[in-house]
Symmetry: C2
Subunit: 347 residues, 2 copies
């Protein structure tokens, strides 16, 4: 089936580009001796996780237990979950996962570490726990090398746990000095992994001397945000949303059948809600749930009602999470359909 026969809105992934993106970044990390541990949040599809592992990744990164459970069910055997896990129910699920695959997690507080230790010791397991460090991201993470070292030592002391190293996001200029300072305070405790991440900074991973592992997500699909960062070029972008122009109320306004339920309202600092390949000067000025409002006034021409357009979304990960399935294409011909297996795995 040609992609023109697909009903819109539909999210398609060019399989040639997907494969090329996976191979190119793996080759780069291999060249620099950095372990590749891609983040599956971007695709949420076990088959793509297997492509990444088969291509050389040491394992995958998931953000939620529900995602890890689905990936483990699909045969992925090494899963890093860089998230603070709390509460009896989540710890039980983590124990069950740790019994069947190589799990590792992060923590940034004693509360989280104590909970992990209790659950793992009771189950007779030993879980690698990395200390999450805030090296400028301003989200989770201990705030200083001193805190990092203290938490590392606590992890080392507590039953059921094993100090697994340091983790941060995104890679930043503070990464190396932070980790170097923390290492000095460890009294010889070995640091097995230093895990960094991000797609915009993916090609600078080797400039961080301390980094031993990199987590990227968006590098497989690309999006408008990745394009702006320069990490990928237009011809590398593998994910597109095909939409139909359903209304042309004025000479310059066009309405697409793709709104925030398709493209998400993520702006990520960008102007407008997507890039239309066929009308590069067009601007998606507004989204309601099922409508995309496009200003074609800067274009030489504007599409007719019924015309299909191809959109690069601002942020591919959240688009994945809005679709029940992704259509894999090669040379604009449909080759397969992947259910987005981890979609909505929020817990």
């Amino acid at each position: 089936m040609h992609i023109d026969q697909l009903e819109t809105p539909v999210a398609i992934v060019d399989l040639d580009r997907l494969e090329a993106n996976i191979a190119r970044f793996q080759a780069y990390l291999d060249e620099h001796g950095i372990a590749n541990r891609p983040h599956i949040k971007t695709h949420k599809i076990p088959a793509i996780a297997h492509m990444q592992v088969d291509g050389g990744a040491v394992g995958i990164t998931c953000q939620k237990l529900g995602e890890a459970e689905i990936m483990a069910d699909a045969g992925i055997t090494d899963i890093f979950l860089p998230y603070n896990l709390l509460g009896a129910s989540k710890l039980e699920r983590l124990v069950a996962l740790t019994r069947r695959v190589n799990m590792s997690v992060t923590a940034d507080s004693e509360v989280v570490v104590q909970g992990l230790s209790q659950a793992m010791a009771q189950a007779g397991l030993e879980l690698p726990v990395l200390v999450e460090c805030d090296t400028g991201g301003g989200r989770c993470g201990v705030q200083s090398p001193e805190e990092a070292a203290a938490l590392a030592k606590l992890i080392d002391r507590l039953p059921g746990l094993h100090f697994g190293g340091f983790m941060t996001y995104p890679n930043s200029p503070q990464l190396d000095p932070f980790i170097q300072e923390a290492k000095k305070l460890l009294d010889g405790l070995p640091v097995e992994r230093v895990s960094g991440g991000s797609t915009p900074f993916m090609w600078q991973a080797h400039t961080h001397k301390e980094l031993t592992e990199h987590r990227a997500g968006m590098y497989i699909y690309g999006d408008r945000y990745t394009l702006k960062s320069g990490a990928l070029q237009l011809d590398d972008v593998a994910m597109h949303v095909i939409a139909t122009v359903v209304s042309r109320p004025t000479a310059t306004r066009g309405i697409l059948d793709s709104g925030s339920k398709t493209l998400s309202s993520d702006l990520l600092g960008l102007d407008g809600h997507g890039y239309i390949l066929e009308y590069p000067q067009a601007k998606i000025v507004g989204l309601s749930e099922e409508h995309g409002n496009v200003d074609f006034s800067a274009c030489d021409s504007a599409p007719a009602i019924g015309e299909r357009v191809t959109i690069i979304p601002n942020h591919c990960c959240v688009v994945t999470n809005l679709f029940n399935e992704i259509v894999g294409v090669r040379n604009n011909t449909v080759e397969l359909t992947w259910p987005v297996a981890c979609r909505g795995a929020l817990q």
Copy 2:
């Protein structure tokens, strides 16, 4: 089960408030002789659609064929789809729906009307088509009463179609003059329905003399946007997201296990990404996919790691679309779980 035992993040709906919201707005519309045709985009759950119809609604509004198909399967018999439908595949599905339930749709162009006519005439059906009018919303819709009347007459002339009236969104001061002017140009063609909508303006529906039908969605749940509009009060809000504080990296920063995959990044002109009941002065300053970044600096105290908080999201409809299921509660006790049946019905 008490709601404190639910894993987070979770979306809960207070059933007492849901029932009260449905009944109160129905009573208001009944009092003013306006037909109630709620928009199911907010809940996407057949059981709630049935509650609305059983409560007095004349039928429901869906935005996509996929939603209408699921609602028809669930026994809803009167469905308005105010969307321009284009293309052979979608028209076939519309024909199939029209054979089994009372369908009506909108159109705002000759292209759409011609397609509808061809499909319906060929199937031997007669479909009511309302003309969508842009009365200030700046989305779809004909731009003038003259265009509205011309399209109405075309619908009336074409086989397989029946002129069903006018539709607009949202209700605006231009609604009445626009419709009155269009009516004058109809040469006596009857206007069966004038369908308006919106939750923020729900209690002003009766001030529009021309309105015969109202489509509201958010009135059943409420959210931060609805609160700001004054259409609902804090104690009316039926939907909340329960989240857990998973990190407290600094004295004023707290990180929730709810990000844009839970709350969506919809701002709708609001400041911040949600209202935390237990910390009204807190501000959700940023969302990444799985993290909510909260500034507690304006609060007297800040939550401990592991504490649960109750959030009113900015926009309830998009939150619905992010969850696989919604938990119905009464007096903070779980009564039922509803799968979000129409979630991801994008086509």
